[in-house]
Symmetry: C2
Subunit: 364 residues, 2 copies
């Protein structure tokens, strides 16, 4: 077996184990919930559906963080940690889609839309949109609790006061803080000083995404395996710029991505009013008239395809797209350099390099 | 010192300790959050504000469950458990108020209204209502995570697989399931069979309220102190009917309560479209025309004070109010009988009797 095959097999085994763990976990909870009332099945179904798909980026970062710190291949603790991260991500997506009024997720309806559709199909009373939103708030809360239950199931290594527990707690609090800064910038950005907009957008990226998607999951895996502080610092030096590149790529895809590949409508970020680094750079570098146009359309429910086209043109012509691509390259390079400096076995190092490549150059 | 004084002092000490624990906990998290950005202060402020008030019913049930099972007065574990329960309750209230579109909480604005008002006061862009809702979803998520952090802080006695942990997990899942059944009944109730409405409303009460507000907190305290299974069964026999009486009283106050005492607008439950036992009994016992009137107004945003008056009249004249008061009396008596049958020291038994009296006869 070549190194590349070994890596593929081991990674596939882990992903399958996480999927199995999630199925087992949700099946046991399904039993409890059905005992209360079969009416709750759609809530459980919406959670199962969401944890079935996805790239498993966070679980994989956790796994290779664990392996890099000397953890055994396929050990139970890291599988459970991966499942807890996936459940947390599902909870975050459910609430995120309500907040951003996103009707689609991975090409299908988002959870609040599923429940609105259920309401309509059943001919229920009152407002279907409100019902969908309320049901999705509760589905997200339940999923958040499940994520915690799974995390506790890790046992001793994730007990009160353990380093893994502290990382998990910090990860949750920081991503919620970052999401608040994100929605705050949508409404406060237009009246705040434009000079600070790019740095505010970078801070949002760091907390809502980079720390959450790559830095903390990698550190969590490392901490579970008893990584030294030195190794954890090295992990951060790699994962933080990688996460920043990851989110900048996400921002580019949110404006320029192909709906068939991303599973999201074209220009979705613009309709949601996201003031990303990409947008902040455009506002800074475009003509006053063009910036005013972006400001007037961003977050507008009436934003149409023509507006999306025009904003895309401004972002390209102002040089903001190119500047963002340069930033992605720089962050990516910083990540690769930090990775090469890490004292890791060949297998986890190669795995992390592959993950980094997929993250920076992805199209969905 | 008389027994009554001892009880008052011990209870006051515990409530003060929980308040101190909450302040310490939130102050430490405030430090982390301010480090990310002072912009997050209003989120932390909204959580602090919410855990400052309230009746501390759940924390007190937990405390006397602990004491009844032989736990020491004022021990750290039960104080931390009380703080975790209060944080969980605050998280539930934040999301509940979004779901129910409640603009007030304890006489002040609810969290989503606070953020809408902040938006308006600052002259921010886009929609203040949407911003308020999004911020409150995130504030509730953060508070839910905090509740878990606090619970884990209990340590060994609440570790993975412990009985206290299982109760805490079940409590969270059941209250979320109960809340979903509650919003489902609002929309599906009008098209479901009327004959089953009262029993559906009773099932909702059990899961969203009775188990959550009294049964599980009492059992949690007991489990932390190492209660026998017999004692836990006895606790349930007392706390479950008590919790049912508690919620039925809440339902009566939601329609007939004095806004000055409840801190909620008159007839708030009717505007929210809650299909409580009280309402289900009225729909069952009123004339077809009166039932049709209730059905047409329940949950309507246009419900006015005249409608509230008329629905109150129908609930009274149909005998539903009296029937609910009889139920409250019956559940209360069942709780008292079960309490007397418990093998408890005089102090916790008296304390639980007092809590039960306050719960069943309260006016707010």
């Amino acid at each position: 077996m070549t190194g590349a095959e070994q890596l593929r097999n081991e990674q596939a085994d882990f992903v399958a184990s996480v999927a199995g763990e999630l199925t087992g976990f949700l099946t046991s909870r399904q039993g409890i919930m059905s005992g209360i009332s079969p009416d709750i099945d759609p809530i459980m179904g919406s959670i199962s559906n969401l944890v079935t798909g996805g790239k498993r980026l966070r679980a994989l970062m956790c796994y290779w963080g664990w392996r890099g710190a000397g953890g055994d291949a396929g050990a139970a603790e890291v599988v459970t940690a991966g499942a807890a991260l996936e459940l947390f991500q599902a909870a975050a997506l459910i609430h995120d889609d309500i907040i951003d009024r996103s009707d689609t997720r991975r090409g299908g309806p988002s959870v609040h839309r599923r429940f609105s559709q259920l309401h309509e199909a059943q001919g229920w009373a009152l407002d279907s949109g409100r019902f969908g939103q309320a049901a999705a708030i509760l589905a997200g809360d339940l999923c958040l609790s499940f994520s915690e239950e799974a995390f506790t199931d890790i046992g001793e290594r994730a007990a009160s006061g353990s380093r893994a527990r502290l990382i998990f707690n910090l990860m949750r609090a920081e991503v919620m803080a970052g999401q608040y800064l994100d929605i705050l910038e949508e409404v406060a950005g237009p009246v705040r000083d434009r000079a600070g907009a790019v740095s505010r957008a970078q801070s949002i990226i760091r907390f809502k995404s980079a720390k959450y998607s790559t830095e903390h999951p990698l550190a969590l895996g490392g901490a579970l395996a008893g990584a030294t502080n030195d190794l954890l610092r090295g992990y951060s030096a790699f994962a933080l710029p990688l996460g920043e590149a990851f989110q900048l790529r996400d921002d580019v895809l949110g404006v320029f991505g192909d709906p068939l590949t991303t599973g999201k409508p074209a220009g979705d970020d613009l309709r949601e009013g996201k003031r990303t680094v990409l947008v902040a750079l455009a506002l800074d570098q475009a003509s006053p008239a063009e910036s005013a146009f972006i400001d007037s359309r961003l977050g507008s429910p009436e934003l149409d395809d023509g507006d999306v086209q025009e904003i895309r043109r401004i972002i390209e012509d102002s040089g903001a797209l190119q500047a963002t691509e340069v930033l992605i390259g720089e962050y990516g390079n910083a990540a690769y350099e930090a990775l090469e400096a890490l004292q890791l076995d060949e297998l986890p190092k190669t795995a992390l390099r592959r993950l980094a490549e997929a993250t920076v150059s992805r199209a969905s």
